[in-house]
Symmetry: C2
Subunit: 219 residues, 2 copies
C-alpha cells in the first residue's frame, strides 16, 4: 500500500497548507488513538511510529486488523458528510506522533482542495482491499494457511528488509490474534516452519526468509 496516499496529487504549496491546518499529537506506546463506535470527530495521519487497528469480540478477545505505518491516514469516518462513528479502534504500538484535523477543519480543507476527497476514496478502497485479503485468509480453512497469509500481508505493511529476508516485529500472540488461531497453535506452526528453514524466530520478532515458500508449504 502506498504511503502518504492522502496527500497525493496535491501540489507542494497545497500540501503544506493542509499540513499547516493540523495539530500534532505525540503519543506513548500502547496509547489509544480513538475507539470503535465513538463519534468520529477527527481525521488522523500517522507521522511517525507504529499504530494498529483492532476490534474487540463479544467474548472479549482483541482482534488485530491491520498495522499502520507513517503516512497512513486513520479515522476517515470523520470525513463523511453525515456524522458517523469510528468503525474500529486504533492504538499506538510504539511511541508515535499523529497529525490531527478536526472534522470541521477537514470539511473546509476538502472544499478548498477537492483532490483530498478523491484521495479519501482511494484510501478507503485500499482499506477495502485489506479486508478482502483478510477475508480470503480467514475462509481458507487450515490454521497454517491463515497464518501464512497473515505473515505475507505483514511483510508488505511492517516488514524490514534485512540481509537474510524480511524481519517482522511481532509476538506470537499478535500473530495468533490476526490469524484467528491460538497462541499455542501459532507457536507449533512457526516451530515447524523454522525446522523447514522457511523462517527464523526470536522473542518478539520473526525473520521470513522466503514469503513465497510459506504459501507453497501450505498449498
Amino acid at each position: 500500500m502506498n504511503r502518504w496516499q492522502f496527500l497525493e496529487g496535491l501540489d507542494p504549496a497545497d500540501a503544506r497548507a493542509v499540513l499547516a491546518a493540523s495539530t500534532t499529537r505525540r503519543l506513548p506506546p500502547h496509547a489509544k488513538i480513538y475507539e470503535q463506535s465513538q463519534a468520529a470527530s477527527s481525521v488522523f495521519l500517522l507521522s511517525s511510529g507504529r499504530a494498529r487497528y483492532f476490534s474487540m469480540t463479544s467474548d472479549g478477545r482483541k482482534i488485530i486488523l491491520h498495522w499502520l505505518m507513517p503516512g497512513d491516514a486513520l479515522g476517515l469516518a470523520a470525513i463523511l458528510q453525515t456524522p458517523s462513528p469510528y468503525r474500529v479502534s486504533a492504538e499506538t504500538v510504539r511511541e508515535s506522533a499523529v497529525l490531527v484535523w478536526s472534522r470541521e477543519v477537514m470539511q473546509s480543507l476538502m472544499e478548498a482542495y477537492p483532490r483530498l476527497l478523491h484521495n479519501a476514496l482511494t484510501v478507503s478502497v485500499a482499506y477495502l482491499d485489506l479486508y478482502i485479503a483478510a477475508h480470503a485468509a480467514l475462509v481458507s480453512d487450515t490454521a497454517k494457511q491463515r497464518l501464512a497469509s497473515v505473515l505475507v500481508r505483514l511483510t508488505d505493511s511492517i516488514g524490514n528488509e534485512v540481509s537474510d529476508g524480511v524481519e517482522l516485529q511481532v509476538t506470537n500472540e499478535e500473530l495468533a490474534s490476526a490469524a484467528n488461531i491460538t497462541l499455542f497453535t501459532a507457536s507449533r506452526i512457526l516451530s515447524e516452519w523454522q525446522g523447514e528453514h522457511a523462517l527464523t524466530k526470536r522473542r518478539g520478532r520473526i525473520i521470513l526468509h522466503s514469503p513465497n515458500r510459506l504459501l507453497r508449504l501450505t498449498a
Copy 2:
C-alpha cells in the same frame, strides 16, 4: 444499508442527467456482471432484480460476500483516478437490470456533479462496514455464531417481511459458503434451530421468526 446512496443529495434534475448518461443492460439469472481482477471499465447500478458479490478461493470454493438489491452501486473501482481492477466478482441471482456507465463518462459526470464523488466514498465506507461485520462474524469461533451472524445480516439485505417473520430466499449451500462452514453443518444447525422454533425451513427458503433469538441462542 441505504439504497440509492449513490444518487443521494443530487437535485432531481442532476440525478436525471446522471441517469440519462447510463445505458441499461438486462441480464438473465446467474449471469456474470464482472469478474475479479479484470480492469474496472464500468460502474454499475442495480436497477432491478438481485445480484451478489462473490470470490473464489484458491482451492476452487465460491465464497459469497454480499447480496445486492436494487439501488446498490457496483464496481466502484472504476471510479478511481488510477485504473485498477475489480476487487471481487459480481453476478446476478435472478433476472436483473443494471445501469452502466463507462469509466470515462463517469469521470466527466463526477466533474460536473462533485456530490457523486462524495457518495462514492459513502458507498465505499458502507462496503467497509459490511466487511468489518463479516470479519467479526468469521472470527467468532463457533459455527453457530457464524451462521447466526450471516442470517442476521441477510435479514437486512435480502429479507422479505412476512406474517410470521422475515423470509430469506437462500439455499443451505449459499449459507454455508457465506458462514464458512460445510453444507452438512449448516443443515444440522438449522434443524436444531427449527426444533427450537426460532425459524422454519423450506427448500430454498428460510423464515426467521426472531433474529434476536438466534443471537441469544449462540451467546
